[in-house]
Assembly symmetry: C2
Homo-oligomer: 367 residues x 2
């Protein structure tokens, strides 16, 4: 193999695929990055067997071939090179020579035949989603997935497409996030995508231009295709929880409150709450005011926020973290908080549209 | 005590003094921050007994007094408050009540009588230094102090004032940094200031305006006074190494080289050097070219940099870290490298002035 390419472009391409490379793997080949000539350019591939990222970039191909090099070291080297042409050559002794301006690196290549192939996903039936919508749907749900692996299905986000409606749902036993969207002319489907994959997609989407993202499914895998980047991931196996029966349809009181004010007050209250055991903040909803209080050994905090209340007064306690997570990703100026009893879930909704529902289980208050 | 002050100003003042507070101390009172009424404002004090930082700020004093509160918690609370007036009150039950807009915090105060007094440094004989000069002198020397405490005197920077010349010197057994300056009408003196103190001073100087810094000495302590901030620190005890006899007066070869090019080349070479054991890079100085090479199990690197050489060719090896540390803080476009033999120190100097000398011991090359 012998190719010439642009340093900046190569560096940013390595950066993109490197995110799929795990530094902790026990298989040395997975610490590597595959670079192979492909048509009029290069294809870079990184994978940890769960997720694979491929990136295409233009290059001058003098001699076809492929190499595998340590992703970390290659990334560091290319980033430090000057902004000039980079020549990459594989010699007969399995050495890769990287030349750029007055620098020459000679690195021992790993055997590219050992590099795992990514699962094949046929690009026949495409699901097209506007990048903006998909990015937002990920942002508003993925944080609510379970961290611990005791119920693996909960470490992913359910994506359910039915009658041109998309529901994305995440839940971890303490809270649930549901984001709804509408897409015309799209087939029904139901899959659970690992949170890690969606976080990577979100990161890549932030860097890329704002066009549609193309998504393809097989029974066990999903392929995301955006411009020059393809991300392949396994899907999670198993039945997702019937989330619709968890979300209550009615409530006894509904408070409208400024999102930013509520976020700031709960953030301050949580400064003391996190000194205690379970991050507990207490909400007292009464007439035109909601008070937020928290106690710790070192002191107490009392916050008040003005509200518009329909229905009954209520006292209820929450783990402040679960409240803050949601308030941070709701863009609307005002939210509705819906309550039934002090031991039933609270619903948080943006006041200006119906596309987002967040449910939190309360913490039982003592005394 | 009862006072009213500005939230932003209080937050930035806490931030300044908090840097002297150690979170690891076993004495609970040292995790606290002293706030006391002082003339027409407040004095905030933090200390870890080695270094003490005091900051004065205006405030409306309704009732005089003093309190001690957890520096970390207080900093977090004040930072999260809205940009409005903050009222701080100490009640008769030793509770501090902090009120701001719709927030009220009640915190248990620590006994302010237990807070240690900072050492008294009489402000009689002042040493005035331009902040720019002092900042630069710290930056160019403090990184070369010893980290380990086996020879405590080397964890500080020698400040030697003689005949209107100031020398600041740091060394750690592997390299030595000497920065020289000139100040008119200044008395002779010779002290060793802990690196930690100078790092704090440098951080504070970066935030403050560019006027003179006033320095006062006693036998065991130093006081730095800039605008509203006073930093008191102990001095290091003992005799500093006679550094002048370490620096060679002559050399056999002298290479002039572009600082940035050399820095970039050694940085790239060190990517492989750090994969090896001792960060070793080899320099070969010959005619109009210096090559920089490094070997590791995974590969080799070869860099070339153009030079102007006076004197003999030389091959010599270094720990790349010690070279990089110096090249990063030399502002001049070009540097001189002075060599004698492959086992004697190399001197690095800016090409355009005489005020800085950096010495590195070589690593003996095998074979």
């Amino acid at each position: 193999m012998k190719v010439i390419c642009n340093q900046k472009l190569l560096s940013s391409s390595i950066n993109t695929v490197q995110k799929a490379v795990s530094s902790k793997t026990t298989m040395p080949i997975l610490k590597g990055l595959l670079i192979e000539t492909y048509k009029d350019g290069l294809k870079l591939v990184g994978t940890d067997l769960e997720i694979g990222i491929e990136k295409y970039m233009p290059a001058e191909i003098l001699d076809e071939g492929s190499i595998v090099l340590s992703a970390r070291l290659l990334g560091e080297i290319i980033r430090k090179l000057p902004d000039e042409d980079v020549e990459i050559e594989l010699d007969h002794n399995n050495h890769v020579i990287i030349r750029c301006a007055n620098s020459e690196f000679t690195l021992l290549a790993q055997p590219s035949l050992e590099f795992p192939e990514l699962p094949q996903v046929e690009e026949d039936k495409v699901y097209k989603l506007p990048q903006d919508l998909f990015k937002n749907m990920i942002k508003q749900t993925v944080f609510a997935t379970a961290i611990d692996e005791t119920r693996p299905i909960l470490t992913g986000v359910l994506m359910e497409i039915q009658d041109e409606k998309i529901n994305m749902v995440a839940l971890d036993g303490y809270r649930l996030a549901l984001r709804q969207g509408h897409i015309k002319n799209i087939d029904n489907n139901k899959v659970v995508i690992p949170a890690k994959t969606l976080n990577e997609i979100n990161r890549i989407l932030m860097e890329e231009e704002n066009t549609d993202i193309d998504i393809f499914f097989t029974e066990n895998h999903v392929l995301f295709h955006m411009n020059e980047i393809r991300v392949t991931s396994r899907l999670l196996d198993g039945e997702f929880i019937n989330y619709k029966q968890i979300i209550p349809n009615e409530c006894k009181s509904r408070a409208k409150v400024n999102t930013k004010n509520l976020l700031n007050s709960i953030e301050r209250a949580s400064l003391l709450a996190k000194e205690g055991k379970n991050n507990l903040v207490k909400l007292s909803v009464k007439d035109e005011c909601m008070t937020i209080t928290s106690n710790a050994e070192i002191g107490t905090v009392y916050e008040s926020v003005s509200i518009q209340l329909e229905g009954e007064d209520i006292d209820i306690g929450f783990n402040s973290k679960y409240f803050l997570d949601a308030l941070k990703i709701i863009d609307s100026e005002e939210v509705y908080l819906e309550f039934t009893t002090s031991v039933s879930p609270c619903i948080v909704k943006p006041a200006d549209h119906e596309n987002y529902t967040y449910l939190i289980l309360p913490v039982r208050l003592v005394g």
